[in-house]
């Protein structure tokens, strides 16, 4: 028996515009309920929507990064359904002419390869408000969220494991953060996922079955996404094992919800019962025409994408996969590091400085690496000092720390604080001789090459370091020591 998971994702990303999609209200859900509202987003009689051009540009920017075909002419449509958090009882969305279609996204897999996941479409729509169910007899409605711009991205069912689903979601988060179009803060619900999942099963007789496609609604964390897909993978196989009529042809599609506490999906409704949304063109908005000038302007705002940057760091800078990943986790870090290398710093050393000290400090200070007050040039020079052996790796961290408050170049800081490494072989040789003379037993242990040799050598190196107040270049000192103890 051969079982293959087939999954596609529908992802809603909240765009980081200052104002809502069709009115001037501030986007801000933290504010007191119903404080960021106006007649337009309240859907009062007589109001008309006005398109937020910035939201459109953000959407186009993202679609370009997803290698989508851009529609030069798009329109808006009304999607009708009744719900208390939707004051107009229709949502302005895009139906048959989305602003972009047919793209793809490359995602890195755990085995080090990448996979192309096709994107069906990406379009803009407005978010609904929020129902607050407070008691048995009433609910309250907060319309602060109403009209917030959402980018809906729909993939082809190209994902074949729960991990792939999670990776795509995480890569997308990174992408939109890189592009500066969304904060993509999961805690704030800036990204929501709806996976469509079924199984292709080929039994031992070579018969092929397809289980019913299930759409799990409204997942708002990577963990929930991965687990919901994994649960469905398990559940659908179990159901099929139990009854081979559990197939798409016989059962159709269904919507399911996710119970995070119980770690399982719950049946909501058959898709046949699904709403007829009665889409039709929104008569209150004019179609959008994306002309060359506008498109060029948006293209100019595009940056190098995180995966491409990561691969460049691995290829050109010879970083390992892990470091390259950490450095491209956000755009500020990636550009800061890249800037330091381009300013002449050794890539490996700069990577160590940024990952070991820069990111940690930035995290403590709740800021980004580029906001620490240290310039890329300083980091580049510091990386070079380490590379040349002028300062040790640990001294470099100390210098980095001093640079947070000291604008001098790192060499000056190193000198001021006596952090320049002793690399003069002549001077070091005398100290090495001195240490050997004072610790003959240890020297003998090293020479004999026995069990204790390694430990004894470490002890001797420690003595050299102590005598030089840690300023001995460990590489040179080590070579000297090894040379002397070989005799």
């Amino acid at each position: 028996m051969d079982v293959k998971l087939i999954a596609g994702l529908e992802i809603h990303v909240q765009l980081a515009t200052k104002s809502k999609l069709f009115c001037g209200c501030k986007v801000g859900f933290e504010d007191p309920p119903n404080s960021n509202v106006c007649p337009v987003c309240l859907g009062l009689p007589g109001v008309l929507p006005l398109m937020n051009k910035k939201a459109y540009e953000y959407a186009v920017r993202t679609a370009l990064a997803l290698n989508c075909q851009m529609a030069r002419f798009t329109k808006w449509d009304r999607k009708s359904y009744y719900y208390p958090d939707l004051p107009k009882n229709y949502q302005i969305s895009q139906y048959d002419l989305p602003l972009s279609h047919d793209g793809y996204m490359e995602i890195p897999l755990e085995d080090g390869t990448t996979k192309k996941v096709r994107i069906i479409r990406a379009h803009l729509e407005e978010d609904a408000g929020k129902n607050l169910h407070e008691g048995l007899d009433h609910s309250r409605i907060d319309l602060n969220r109403t009209g917030t711009p959402l980018l809906e991205i729909v993939t082809e069912p190209d994902l074949n494991s729960p991990v792939e689903c999670r990776i795509l979601a995480q890569e997308l988060q990174k992408l939109v953060q890189f592009l500066g179009v969304s904060e993509a803060n999961m805690q704030k619900g800036h990204m929501r996922f709806e996976p469509n999942i079924n199984l292709q099963i080929i039994d031992d007789d070579g018969r092929e079955y397809r289980t019913p496609i299930c759409e799990v609604k409204n997942l708002n964390s990577f963990r929930a996404l991965e687990r919901a897909v994994a649960y469905e993978e398990w559940r659908q196989l179990e159901e099929w094992k139990h009854d081979h009529d559990f197939t798409l042809e016989k059962m159709g599609k269904q919507n399911r919800g996710w119970n995070d506490a119980r770690n399982e999906t719950i049946f909501q409704r058959e898709k046949e019962e699904a709403h007829d949304y009665r889409y039709f063109p929104e008569p209150d908005l004019v179609p959008v025409e994306l002309d060359d000038d506008w498109l060029e302007k948006i293209k100019a705002a595009l940056c190098e994408l995180p995966l491409a940057m990561k691969q460049r760091f691995i290829q050109d800078y010879e970083l390992n996969d892990y470091d390259a990943g950490v450095l491209t986790a956000d755009r500020a870090t990636a550009e800061f590091f890249d800037g330091a290398v381009k300013a002449g710093g050794s890539a490996k050393r700069a990577a160590n400085l940024v990952t070991q000290f820069g990111l940690k400090t930035a995290h403590e200070r709740n800021c980004r690496v580029n906001e620490l007050g240290v310039t890329v040039e300083q980091v580049a020079q510091l990386a070079q000092l380490v590379e040349e052996g002028a300062v040790s790796s640990s001294a470099a961290i100390t210098i980095f720390e001093k640079m947070l408050t000291d604008e001098s170049d790192p060499k000056a800081i190193a000198e001021k604080h006596n952090l320049i490494q002793q690399s003069d072989a002549g001077a070091l040789e005398a100290i090495v001789d001195e240490v050997i003379a004072a610790n003959l037993q240890a020297a003998e242990e090293v020479k004999s090459g026995g069990k204790k040799a390694k430990k004894a050598r470490g002890f001797l190196m420690g003595q050299v370091m102590q005598k030089t107040k840690g300023q001995a270049n460990p590489k040179i000192a080590g070579e000297l020591l090894d040379g002397k103890l070989k005799e």
């Binding site: 859907g43 009689p45 008309l48 009882n89």
Partner: protein
């Protein structure tokens, strides 16, 4: 005072020979006398209007600047939002809804220093041709109180005809300004779609709705259009002035259009149910133009006969969506004891909407439903394009088209309320104009043997309101139909 024209009244006020307060009091005096019979107003703003009039008189006395409509009492159809008073759309579902904001046109009238005296009755949500679909009250025709004023802007037309205001705003989705203007013997202009901002106009059929003036004469319509026309960024469908600049519609109003060519289509006179008296009056009007040396040219609009069918799909589809927001959840009427939240919707709407509104919501919902969309809504959009092309082709040959505004004069109250299809046919001449998006005006062109007004409709290409008004004015100067008044 009611014998003075809009232009004369305006001049008197500016000359300070007539105080706006006196005029406003005079108007309220007439309202006190006649409104109980006519039923034109849903709300009146007596104190507010007088305060405004006092302010205008004071500014005039001080020599301070005043707006172009200074001191003139005007009325507004009750589907335009006002930040003062209620906005009802003549529906129960809005309850005592009070809008927190003014419609764009209301701001424009206020800035122009017009004196807004009240809001007028209408068919519920502007759906109707007789004003009888108002859930709140009955408005009668000032020419015969047993007859309808026409709809849906019946209150505005009746108020102007009865001298209860000097001009009013109406809205026109399929003829709702022109038809009541025709029935009440006044001038009614539907501007080009996009000429006037719809911001604050409670939507019925968004791609068709347009606000326009109703007045005693063409000058009044031009003066009001001057104030309300123009781009408003809050309405994306209002046209940018770099594309279609707003003209001063009053400035050259008295200049006849030279080498005018009027298009007349045989289709206009083949309409079943066209009252011979209406046809006669319209033919006489055409003769009047011919006597002025104007050329009449035969044109054809072969697709016009499909206009009503297309309209009742497009307008109702949009309406079904536009009216979805009246659900008892956020504002307006809510059912008293809902069983559950679905019942809040269904019962509130069942109680709040009248029959015609429900009929149109159901029709539109059906037209947009999966499996029917292509056959109905999409087909209707195609017909709409063909109708638009009919007009474009006609306008390659002629400056304007002329036809009756309605196939008959005002009918009796209750005569058509049981037969919606018959009622819909009242708009047979006006609906195509909305579908094509072009401007149309109805001007009085005679009285029937029963002393009921007959309207002449003139239609011109998009954004040529200046020309349209001048063509209408040419007729007015040659005839005295616009001076006829109801007896009340």
């Amino acid at each position: 005072m009611e014998n003075l024209t809009f232009q004369q009244i305006s001049a008197e006020i500016l000359k300070k020979s007539l105080k706006s307060v006196e005029l406003t009091q005079h108007i309220f005096g007439r309202i006190d006398k006649l409104e109980s019979k006519i039923g034109a107003f849903i709300s009146l703003f007596r104190e507010r209007a007088l305060a405004k009039a006092v302010d205008i008189d004071r500014r005039l006395a001080e020599g301070a600047p005043v707006g172009p409509l200074a001191g003139i009492p005007v009325a507004i159809k009750d589907n335009m939002c006002t930040g003062f008073g209620a906005t009802t759309c003549a529906s129960r579902i809005l309850g005592k809804f009070s809008s927190p904001y003014n419609a764009h046109v209301v701001d424009q009238l206020e800035d122009a220093d017009a004196v807004i005296i009240g809001k007028t009755n209408m068919d519920e949500f502007a759906m109707g041709s007789s004003c009888e679909n108002s859930a709140l009250q009955t408005t009668v025709n000032p020419w015969d109180i047993n007859r309808v004023p026409g709809g849906s802007s019946g209150g505005s037309a009746a108020a102007v005809a009865a001298g209860l205001c000097y001009a009013a705003l109406g809205s026109d989705t399929g003829g709702s300004i022109r038809l009541p203007a025709s029935f009440c013997g006044v001038v009614g202009l539907k501007p080009t779609y996009g000429r006037v901002s719809r911001y604050g106009l409670v939507a019925y059929g968004s791609s068709l709705d347009q606000i326009g003036p109703i007045s005693r004469d063409v000058y009044g319509a031009a003066a009001l259009l001057n104030v309300i026309a123009g781009h408003d960024r809050r309405d994306s469908t209002s046209v940018d002035e770099s594309t279609a600049p707003v003209k001063d519609y009053v400035k050259n109003l008295d200049h006849p259009v030279e080498n005018l060519k009027i298009g007349v289509a045989q289709e206009f006179f083949d309409v079943e149910g066209l009252d011979p008296e209406v046809e006669k009056a319209v033919r006489e009007a055409l003769q009047t133009y011919e006597d002025m040396g104007v050329a009449l040219i035969e044109v054809s609009l072969p697709y016009m006969k499909y206009a009503i069918a297309a309209y009742y799909l497009i307008a109702t589809a949009e309406a079904s969506s536009n009216l979805a927001r009246y659900d008892g959840v956020h504002y307006g009427h809510r059912t008293s004891r809902p069983k559950d939240y679905i019942d809040v919707y269904s019962s509130s709407r069942a109680e709040g909407f009248g029959d015609e509104v429900k009929r149109r919501i159901m029709l539109g919902t059906y037209a947009l439903s999966a499996g029917y969309y292509d056959a109905y809504y999409l087909k209707a959009l195609k017909v709409r394009n063909l109708i638009r092309r009919d007009f474009e082709q006609a306008f390659e040959k002629v400056d304007c088209l002329m036809c009756p505004t309605a196939p008959e004069t005002a009918f009796k109250l209750g005569e058509k309320t049981d037969d919606p299809l018959k009622m819909y046919l009242s708009d047979i001449y006006t609906i195509a104009v909305n579908l094509a998006g072009v401007p149309g005006i109805s001007i009085p062109c005679g009285l029937s043997s029963g002393n009921l007004p007959i309207g002449l409709q003139i239609i011109t290409p998009a954004f040529s309101e200046a020309k349209l008004l001048r063509i209408a004015r040419m007729f007015e100067k040659e005839t005295e139909h616009h001076l006829s008044k109801p007896f009340c």
